[in-house]
């Protein structure tokens, strides 16, 4: 369970997160949605402990994230950042292997190597293991970073716009993998991700956290809390949730 209490954060004098209080249950996929500049990415980074709030607290799996040490946090949650920025020239196997770092801290064991191989297998990266990450296509690269986050074996995975700049094939690939990760009966993980595509959110999200201007617009189970009216109010533009062939699609009207 993620419990957020009165979370407030300002940057350069401007409030980015304003008094957020909500919960995310321990299982399933949670979509963080909201218009551009609503503070979604900031919220994710604050949940991950990378940004320190001015007030309020974040408790994940019983641990106060901003009081925990960095190495303790790394065993509770993993973070997939937006792929902006540079990637060192590492091959895929090394990159995914670094996901194990919080567990071995520089002294990998046989078990870490075995787990890395299993993760590569699970993400269909075994054949790409020797390739440099930089040489991969955008979709493969994102899959490699997702595998790295997965290898960290944390109960929670936070993903900042994992679908940015992906084509439909890889969008589907990543979402199906996340679905499988969130509902894996042996090793379920809580998945929290920032999404812009509302149809994908409607289709996959179990839970929803909607932000507008740094305030909580609504939070709760997607089915109960999301309506066409609420979405329209959230984005200040008329939106409609319609059912097409049994799936929910969000379109503008």
């Amino acid at each position: 369970m993620i419990e957020v209490e009165n979370l407030t954060l300002a940057r350069g004098g401007a409030a980015v997160l304003r008094d957020l209080t909500f919960r995310i249950p321990a299982r399933g996929i949670t979509a963080v949605i909201g218009p551009n500049g609503a503070g979604k990415s900031t919220l994710l980074h604050t949940l991950a402990g990378l940004m320190r709030p001015d007030a309020g607290s974040v408790t994940i799996a019983g641990t106060d994230i901003h009081r925990a040490r960095e190495d303790e946090r790394a065993l509770i949650l993993s973070l997939l950042t937006q792929s902006a920025g540079t990637v060192p020239r590492l091959n895929v196997r090394d990159l995914v292997g670094f996901g194990r770092w919080p567990h071995h801290r520089g002294r990998p064991t046989q078990a870490d190597a075995r787990l890395t191989d299993e993760v590569l297998e699970r993400f269909d990266l075994t054949d790409l293991g020797g390739r440099e990450v930089e040489e991969l296509s955008g979709g493969q690269k994102q899959r490699a970073f997702l595998a790295m986050a997965y290898a960290q074996a944390t109960p929670w995975m936070l993903l900042d716009e994992p679908l940015a700049a992906l084509d439909p094939k890889y969008t589907r690939d990543i979402m199906e993998r996340l679905r499988a990760i969130a509902s894996d009966p042996d090793d379920p993980r809580g998945v929290v991700l920032v999404l812009h595509d509302l149809s994908i959110a409607a289709d996959h999200a179990d839970w929803c956290v909607a932000l507008k201007d740094g305030r909580l617009h609504c939070a709760g189970p997607w089915r109960d809390s999301m309506t066409s009216d609420r979405l329209s109010a959230l984005y200040d533009t008329p939106l409609r949730m319609v059912s097409v062939e049994g799936r929910t699609v969000v379109m503008d009207t």
Binding site: H45, A48, G49, L50, E70, D71, E72, R73, A74, L75, L77, S78, L79, T81, G85, T86, V87, P88, R89, L90, N91, D94, F98, G99, W101, P102, R105, G106, E132, E134, Q152
Partner: protein
């Protein structure tokens, strides 16, 4: 034969050449062969290898730390800051022992490098060329400060010595501080994974549980100490920290745990090679190794920039 073995073979050949080549004839000259080797040639060879290795390792660390392949210790104000520290201690305590001078140079170098790191955090990353330019200006300002202090104190001749790395003055008893680089290399090897993680960026490194600040500080300290030792004992040498990590990265990637030995060997070999060439070109006179390396290094760098597939990413 692996890259490491090939590197080792080149290193041995170069060392042999370095022992044999010089103004004085090794055999049948006026000097005793053993004495010449022990007092001059062996120290000189070791000094060039250590200085080259130290600068190359410093280059790899600073590049990973600021996530920019076009940066090297010569573009981070490190040698200039070391000079300021050295001038400061020379003025404050002219008779200070060498370890104290070295300590002052290292502390100033660390402050200067940390200043660059803080500056780098504010430089937009979109264009990788921007950060080296900022570094150039930063180093220029520190260099001008050093020159001004030296000018005021009538110590300008020292600046010239520190700025141009060359090994003709290396004799037994006058270079031993360079062995500090060997110790730093061991420390760096222990930190290798952490420095690689720095290259993934602050967010990724921290979310993997890395003590980001501590690691950056350790990395900057290694850079500052290596460069300060080199500047004080043989003088600054441009391009080594830029070219060597880029060559290794191009062929072997950035996993430092695997690459550090190769980076150190290549750095040592290239600087020793430059020194041997410098001894041969105008024999029996010498050209500073830094001058030779600047020419070779510039050519290598242009090749790296333009070679197919050799994109230098920021």
């Amino acid at each position: 034969m692996s890259d490491t073995h090939r590197g080792l073979a080149v290193l041995v050949l170069l060392s042999a050449a370095s022992l044999a080549v010089g103004a004085a004839d090794l055999w049948g000259g006026g000097l005793d062969t053993g004495l010449l080797l022990a007092v001059s040639r062996v120290p000189r060879t070791c000094a060039a290898l250590l200085a080259g290795a130290g600068l190359a390792l410093a280059g790899v660390v600073i590049q990973q730390t600021v996530q920019n392949r076009l940066v090297e210790p010569g573009l981070t104000g490190t040698p200039e800051a070391a000079m300021i520290g050295l001038l400061g201690v020379t003025l404050a305590a002219p008779g200070a022992a060498l370890p104290i001078k070295m300590g002052a140079a290292s502390a100033a170098a660390l402050a200067g490098t940390a200043g660059f790191f803080l500056l780098a955090r504010h430089v937009p990353r979109r264009d990788p060329m921007l950060l080296p330019l900022v570094g150039l200006i930063y180093a220029g300002i520190l260099g001008a400060t050093a020159l001004w202090i030296a000018w005021s104190a009538d110590l300008v001749q020292f600046i010239g010595i520190w700025q141009t790395g060359e090994f003709s003055g290396v004799l037994r008893g006058r270079y031993e501080f360079l062995w500090l680089i060997a110790a730093l290399a061991v420390a760096l090897y222990l930190l290798a994974d952490r420095i690689t993680l720095l290259g993934l960026g602050e967010d990724r490194a921290r979310s993997l549980g890395l003590d980001y600040r501590g690691t950056v500080l350790a990395g900057l300290a290694i850079v500052a100490l290596s460069v300060a030792v080199v500047v004080v004992t043989v003088g600054a040498m441009p391009f080594v920290g830029l070219v060597v990590p880029n060559i290794v990265s191009r062929f072997r990637g950035d996993n430092l745990r695997r690459n550090l030995p190769l980076v150190a060997m290549l750095g040592g070999s290239l600087v020793l090679g430059a020194d041997v060439i410098g001894r041969l070109v105008r024999w029996p006179y010498e050209i500073p190794a830094a001058t030779v390396f600047s020419i070779v290094g510039a050519a290598l760098f242009l090749w790296l920039l333009n070679a197919k597939g050799g994109r230098l990413r920021g």
